[in-house]
Symmetry: C2
Subunit: 380 residues, 2 copies
C-alpha cells in the first residue's frame, strides 16, 4: 500500500462530484468529452475488525492507474473517472452498497427511508444534512445520484479476491465473469426471558436457543446443496437482555446467503425460513423475518472482460476467469453500465479480518492491468 500511497501523494487529485452516495475524483477529460466516460473505483468503508485492502485498493489503485497513464503521456478519447462509493459495507446503514445501489437506480426512496445510522440512529436524510450535503428528501437524493444510461461506456473495479483461489493457483490476476447473487435477511425470535436460576428448563421459551438452532440450520442448508458455490452465514447474532443470569428473551440475527445460481440461492433461503418457522413453533417463541436485500447475480460485460484479458496478455501476466462469491459495487453498477472486475490474490484468501494482506507486487500487477484496461476502453 505504501507504494500506492507514495504515488498518490505526488499527484494532484481533485474532486469532480461528491454527494451522499459517493465521490468522483478528478475526471480526466478525454479528447471527446461528450462521449460516455470510462469508470473505475470501489469503496473505502469497512466492517469492524476488518483489513485495509478490501475496497481501498480499488479507490487508491484507480487513482494510481489514472496517474500512471498521465505519467506516460497517454491521451484518453473518453474521459476517465475514479469513483469512491459510499457504504459498500452494511455496517453503518444495515444495507450493503447503498452508494452503488443508488447510482444504479436500484434503491427506492421507500427503502432508503427505512435506513438508520447504526451510530446515531438518525435517518439517512438526517445524516446527509448533518454531513453538509443539504436538506433533501430521499427521492431528491436518489434522483441526484442516479447515473444516466449514457454516463459510462464501461466500468472496471480492482479488488482483492477475498478468497484463496488465485493464491492456490499461483496466478497474479483474476478476471471476474460473474458476481454471486447475495441475499440477506433478518430473523428475530421473541421468547419470554426470565431468571436463569428460577425458570425451570421445561418452562422456558429461550430465544437464544432458537437462534442457536437456526444458525446451525443455516450452515446445514448451505452444505445440503452439495455445491461449493453455495455459502450461508449467521454473522450477526445479538441476545437481549444479554446477561449471564437471564434467559434470552430476544435474539436478533442477520443471515447472509449467496450463490452464483439465483434460483438455487432462493431455494436455500426458503429452506432457512422454513427451519426458522419450525424452530419458533417447537420452542414456543414468536418470530419475525424480513429481507434486507435479495439481489440477482451480475454477469460481466464480454467487452470489458476482453479489455482486461488483453491488458493482462500485453503485460505478460497470467490470469484465470473466475466468479466472485463476495459482492461488490460492481454488482449494482453492472445493472446500468457494461462492467467487469480485476482480482488480485490476498494472503490465504483472508478478508474481513485484521490480517487481510495483499503484497505490493500483486497490487502493482493489478493496478497495471487496470490502467491498461481503462486506456483501451477509453479509446473504444
Amino acid at each position: 500500500m505504501d507504494a500506492i500511497a507514495r504515488c498518490v501523494k505526488s499527484e494532484h487529485v481533485c474532486v469532480t462530484r461528491e454527494d451522499s452516495f459517493g465521490t468522483i475524483f478528478g475526471r480526466w477529460q478525454g479528447s471527446e468529452p461528450s462521449l460516455p466516460a470510462v469508470g473505475t473505483g470501489s469503496h473505502t468503508d469497512a466492517i469492524p475488525l476488518s483489513g485495509r485492502f478490501d475496497g481501498v485498493l480499488g479507490v487508491l489503485g484507480g487513482i494510481e492507474a489514472v496517474a500512471s497513464l498521465r505519467r506516460v503521456g497517454f491521451k484518453p478519447r473518453r474521459s476517465i473517472d475514479v469513483i469512491m462509493f459510499n457504504s459498500e459495507e452494511p455496517t453503518r446503514f444495515g444495507l450493503s452498497c447503498s452508494g452503488s445501489r443508488a447510482m444504479a437506480g436500484a434503491l427506492t426512496a421507500a427503502r432508503l427511508q427505512t435506513l438508520k445510522d447504526s451510530l446515531s440512529n438518525h435517518s439517512f436524510v438526517e445524516v446527509v444534512a448533518a454531513a453538509g450535503f443539504g436538506k433533501l428528501d430521499e427521492q431528491a437524493l436518489l434522483d441526484a445520484a442516479r447515473l444516466s444510461s449514457d454516463s459510462y461506456s464501461a466500468f472496471v473495479e480492482l479488488h482483492i479476491e477475498q478468497g484463496p483461489r488465485l493464491e492456490k493457483a499461483g496466478l497474479p490476476i483474476g478476471v471476474v465473469t460473474a458476481i454471486a447473487a447475495p441475499a440477506a435477511l433478518t430473523v428475530d425470535f421473541y421468547g419470554d426471558g426470565g431468571h436463569a436460576g428460577a425458570l425451570l428448563m421445561h418452562d422456558r421459551h429461550d430465544a437464544g436457543l432458537a437462534a442457536a438452532e437456526l444458525a446451525l440450520a443455516v450452515e446445514a442448508a448451505a452444505l445440503a446443496t452439495g455445491v461449493e458455490d453455495t455459502v450461508a452465514t449467521a454473522g450477526l447474532v445479538t441476545l437481549q437482555p444479554g446477561a449471564v443470569n437471564s434467559v434470552p428473551r430476544h435474539a436478533h440475527m442477520e443471515l447472509d446467503i449467496r450463490d452464483i445460481d439465483g434460483p438455487r440461492r432462493d431455494a436455500v433461503v426458503k429452506k432457512i425460513l422454513g427451519a426458522a418457522e419450525e424452530i419458533a413453533k417447537r420452542r414456543g417463541v414468536r418470530m419475525e423475518t424480513a429481507f434486507v436485500n435479495s439481489d440477482p447475480p451480475a454477469i460481466s460485460s464480454p467487452t470489458v472482460v476482453e479489455a482486461i484479458t488483453a491488458a493482462a496478455d500485453t503485460l505478460g501476466l497470467a490470469y484465470m476467469r473466475m466468479v466472485s462469491r463476495a459482492y461488490h459495487d460492481t454488482l449494482f453498477v453492472a445493472q446500468v453500465v457494461p462492467s467487469a472486475m480485476v482480482f488480485i490474490p490476498c494472503t490465504g484468501g483472508f478478508s474481513h479480518r485484521p490480517d487481510e494482506f495483499a503484497a505490493d507486487a500483486d497490487m502493482e500487477h493489478g493496478v497495471s492491468v487496470l490502467a491498461l484496461s481503462l486506456a483501451q476502453l477509453s479509446m473504444q
Copy 2:
C-alpha cells in the same frame, strides 16, 4: 411499591455505614447494643431490561419493616440493621454478589483485582476511588467490609420468588430452606473469521457455530439430569466482528449452571466443558474457558426459619417451605450468619424482565412477616 414508598418517605432513614460493598441504613439500637445485631436487606442494582422488584423489595421492605416496628412502639433487645448490598447482579463487574461475597469473606483480593467495570473498564479499586471512598488497595477494602462472626446473630432477606410456585399454590409466603448452588463460566471460541461470501463452507472455522452448538449442549446437559432442580443457561453470547457479511471469528459466552445438589451441578458443568472441547476440536476453533464463580449451596438456619414460620402463623398467613433456585446475597451472608429468606409471589413467576410484578397486598404480607421475624429474632 407506592405503599412502601409512601411509608419510607415519612420515616427518617439515616446511613450507619457505607462502603464500596454496601450500605447499612439506620441501625435501630436495641436495649442491649453490645449483642450481635439482627440484619435484613437485599440489593437495588439490576440487570438490563429487568423489573423493579428483584432486590428492591428487600431493601425498601426492610426499611418499612423496621419503620412499622417503630410505629407500633416495639423495643428491640438486639439492634436491627437494614443492609443494601452492592452489585448483587453480575452486570457491572462480571461477578454476582460482590458486596455480600466481600462482607462474608468469600471474595479474595486476587479475585477482586480481576474485576473490571463493564462501563468504564476501570478496576474495582479505581471505581471505588472515583466514587469517593478513598484510595485503598483490594485487601484494605475487603478487610474493612468483612463482617466479624459476632456482627449479626441472624439475617433475613425478603425477596420476590422469581418463580411460579407460590402463585400456582395460591400461597402468600415462601420460607426458603436452601439456596441452589450456582456456577458461572466463560467460554471463548476463536476461529479464523473471513468473508461470508468468499470463504467456502468447508474452509470455515466458524466460532459462532461452535457457540450455537455449545448453547444447545448446555440445554441438553441440564435436561439430561432428569431433575427439575437442574437449570443451565447460555444467557450471554457475543460474536466478533458481528457483521452480516463476515464469518464470526470470536464467540464469547457466559454460561450459568445451578442445582440444589452441588455434586450434580458439578457433573453438569463437567459435561458442558467436555462438549465445548469436542465442538472446538471438531470445528477447528481454539477454546478458552474460565470459571467466574462456583459456589456451594446455602442451607437456611433452623432458628431463623422457625422465626419466619412463627411470624407467618401469628399473622395467619399460609406458607410453604421451598428451595430458592435463584441465588441471593443470603447465599453468602449465610456463610457467616445464621440466615433464611422470605419469598412472596410474583406474577407468572416472571423476573429479570420488564413486566416483573408483585402486588401491593403480597408485598404487605412479606413486609409484615419480615417485621415480625426481625422482632422475634431481636429478642432472642
